[in-house]
Symmetry: C2
Subunit: 197 residues, 2 copies
DNA sequence: ATTTAATTTTACGAAAATAGTATCATAAAA
DNA sequence: TTTTATGATACTATTTTCGTAAAATTAAAT
């Protein structure tokens, strides 16, 4: 039971346009008409798909968060070493959709956007529980020093993912790929020369 | 005859706030109230200084363009070699105020902003006449090959200033300083090994 | 302490932008 | 042909923003 002139295509075009615009200017500054123009779709089609701007913003955010989840799961399910998994996780945030824009966040964490805020917090709870669990397990399996707390690791992960987006680091390394390797290596081995190669 | 609580300070605060906001979001999306909040000044003080948003936008643009002019003059008046001057000119655009933001330009080159557009075009005429003149003189003085047209040089200047803002180039060079040196050297000597060192 | 001037605050009406709806024509799919 | 999604237009309602006026506040000068 599908629509004649592919319904889903317009919906996706609207979502893509909305994300692009929200990305640059946050939610507040972007008008529905603008989203429609960017998506090359009439205003009526918008209202047939979404009740209002908040709803499309919610869907955009939902898509982003879900993609982040899926990416994380896909990485962790692979049959590779823990080290390699972590490298990929750190690399993950390099992807635009895993690093929500400032303006977008600003608008969410202001005014009446309780719904969107709740959505983010739910997601953060979920994902951080999983990550915490994965780390605890890795610690049990001897991949991580026993005398380091999971909380500290969580904090580190956050800072390190920020580092690979830092231009100053990029200037030091040859390219972002090398930056990621450098950071991950530091994450696991510190800066001291390893006794066990 | 000055005002008790320094009048000029508020005006400057408003101009700074406006530039910051116009920079990120263009003119259209920014409200007067927003400018006032950012400048930490009441709406009334805004209207005592400027008639409307267009006027403050015009002043912001005027300041930017004039600063660009002054910078260029200051460079050319120095007692240094032509090569060093050019290096500094290319470096100039690295400064944020000499590289007007996309959103800002977009808003100017749309809709009814004929006044602002005219301002830019006037500036461009002025500056390009000067640059052209400086180059012609340099060519006469033997600093530039005779068989190259000034038009081509003007085109090159434009492209080269863009290059030093390119992240890809930054990844190749160690830092932006080196990028500027590299580009300027290329501008003057090409890539062939020089017969005369 | 009083005066003076700039500023903020508050309130307000006018104007403009945006949101949202109803209707009809069209074009493609069933 | 009938159905269905879409686009275009026109329209109203609502919200936002603009711009002004008047009173209250601040801070320095007299």
């Amino acid at each position: 039971m599908d629509t004649p002139t592919d319904n889903n295509k317009n919906r996706q075009a609207l979502l893509d346009a909305a994300r692009t615009l929200f990305w640059k200017h946050g939610i507040r500054r972007v008008t529905i008409q603008e989203i429609c123009s960017e998506a090359d779709v009439s205003k009526m089609t918008f209202y047939r798909q979404f009740a209002n701007k908040n709803e499309i913003a919610a869907q955009v955010l939902r898509d982003i968060l879900e993609k982040g989840m899926e990416d994380y799961h896909r990485i962790m399910q692979q049959e590779i070493t823990f080290t390699e998994k972590m490298q990929q996780v750190i690399m993950l945030k390099h992807d635009a959709t895993n690093n929500i824009s400032d303006e977008f966040i600003k608008d969410i964490y202001q005014q009446n956007q309780t719904e969107l805020r709740a959505m983010i917090e739910t997601y953060q709870h979920e994902i951080s529980a999983e990550v915490r669990n994965d780390f605890a397990q890795a610690q049990q399996n001897g991949f991580i020093r026993q005398d380091v707390t999971i909380d500290f690791i969580m904090y580190l992960m956050d800072r390190l993912t920020q580092m690979i987006l830092d231009e100053k680091l990029l200037a030091i390394c040859n390219d972002s790929q090398q930056a990621i390797m450098e950071v991950t290596r530091f994450f696991f081995y510190g800066i001291l020369k390893q006794p066990s190669a």
